[in-house]
């Protein structure tokens, strides 16, 4: 006997509405009221908060402890990165619109918004690569200074997260084109959306701390 199933679905009739979670592709009815995959993503995001807190905290401590910290505007192209921030904000909007579309049952708009999110995410990464290439060409690299070291470490790890998000987004978009998501079953869209918005949220903080002061 499956004891887990017995714990969540005791013997006896289960009303159709109680199976709402299962209909959404959540599997067993969660006792917390939150679908398991969504809860798993939130726990993962909590660990990511601590990861980025470590990086940002190190940056702040090193910066306050260093008497000759260069002004970021002298080295970095603030306006280019501001444009990149705009791209990431746009991608968050298209992502949340994709979720809203499938919740309404509009699969055509779901595909459109997922493609736009993918495009914005890939554009963000491309601009970051161009930024890195220019900086390295000008002699600003992780070896040249403490600022260079923490700049490439912090933004590099964020870029890696965006890259992972773009790969996952491509997978989800492919599934959307195969017709795997419906109004009743679309938990994957919400889960990848949470990750994507988190990456945007982290960039909002990183952009301010690293580029603006």
């Amino acid at each position: 006997m499956d004891h887990t199933a017995a714990a969540t679905f005791p013997a006896g009739p289960v009303p159709p509405r109680a199976l709402h979670g299962a209909a959404h592709g959540h599997g067993e009815e969660p006792t917390t009221g939150i679908p398991h995959d969504k809860m798993g993503m939130w726990v993962f995001l909590c660990s990511e908060v601590m990861f980025f807190t470590g990086l940002i905290g190190s940056y702040i401590v090193l910066r306050f402890g260093s008497p000759n910290w260069p002004h970021p505007g002298n080295t970095l192209n603030i306006w280019l990165t501001a444009g990149n921030t705009f791209l990431l904000i746009c991608s968050s909007v298209t992502m949340v619109q994709a979720l809203a579309s499938i919740q309404r049952g509009d699969t055509r708009k779901l595909k459109l918004f997922l493609c736009l999110t993918l495009l914005f995410g890939a554009s963000f990464l491309s601009v970051q690569v161009i930024e890195y290439w220019k900086l390295l060409h000008e002699g600003f690299n992780p070896h040249v200074s403490l600022f260079g070291s923490v700049f490439f470490t912090t933004t590099g790890f964020h870029g890696f997260h965006v890259f992972c998000g773009v790969v996952c987004m491509a997978f989800v978009t492919g599934k959307a084109f195969l017709g795997k998501y419906t109004q009743a079953s679309h938990q994957g869209i919400e889960t990848i959306g949470l990750y994507w918005h988190f990456v945007d949220l982290v960039w909002i903080v990183l952009f301010t701390i690293i580029y603006l002061f």
């Binding site: 005791p10 006896g12 289960v14 009303p15 509405r17 109680a18 709402h20 979670g21 959404h24 009815e29 969660p30 917390t32 009221g33 939150i34 679908p35 809860m39 939130w42 726990v43 995001l45 909590c46 908060v49 601590m50 807190t53 470590g54 940002i56 905290g57 190190s58 702040i60 401590v61 306050f64 402890g65 505007g73 603030i78 306006w79 501001a82 921030t85 705009f86 904000i89 746009c90 968050s92 909007v93 992502m95 949340v96 619109q97 809203a100 919740q103 959306g193 949470l194 918005h197 988190f198 945007d200 949220l201 909002i204 903080v205 952009f207 301010t208 701390i209 603006l212 002061f213």
Partner: protein, 109 residues
């Protein structure tokens, strides 16, 4: 048994209610865009004292990040328990950074 079933029905209704609560995402987008323009302009075109600059910019970043978490990640419409889990991590993070800053700023014996 009936209590458990009614509890499940409540959970299902609750999730359905949250699913259909949607803010105006374009309004949030324009707020995020506007605040970013204000941030970049304030940093590029004004020269206030460092402490004021940092306070204003970090304040604006926190507002923007909160808007993303509340409206795009739907924390505003989620169960309180989820908010508590996420907030507890943020509090730990703030403590960690604050201790680091305090070590640099406070005079050493």
């Amino acid at each position: 048994m009936s209590n458990e079933i009614s509890h499940r029905e409540e959970l299902a209704e609750d999730e359905e209610r949250r699913t259909h609560q949607q803010p105006n995402y374009m309004t949030i987008f324009w707020w995020l865009f506007g605040l970013t323009v204000v941030e970049v302009s304030y940093s590029a075109f004004t020269h206030p004292p460092k402490l004021i600059l940092m306070t204003v910019l970090v304040g604006l970043a926190v507002i923007k990040a909160t808007m993303v978490a509340l409206f795009f990640m739907h924390l505003k419409f989620e169960r309180k328990s989820l908010g508590i889990i996420f907030a507890s991590t943020l509090i730990l993070g703030v403590i960690l950074v604050s201790v680091g800053i305090a070590e640099q700023v406070l005079p050493r014996p």
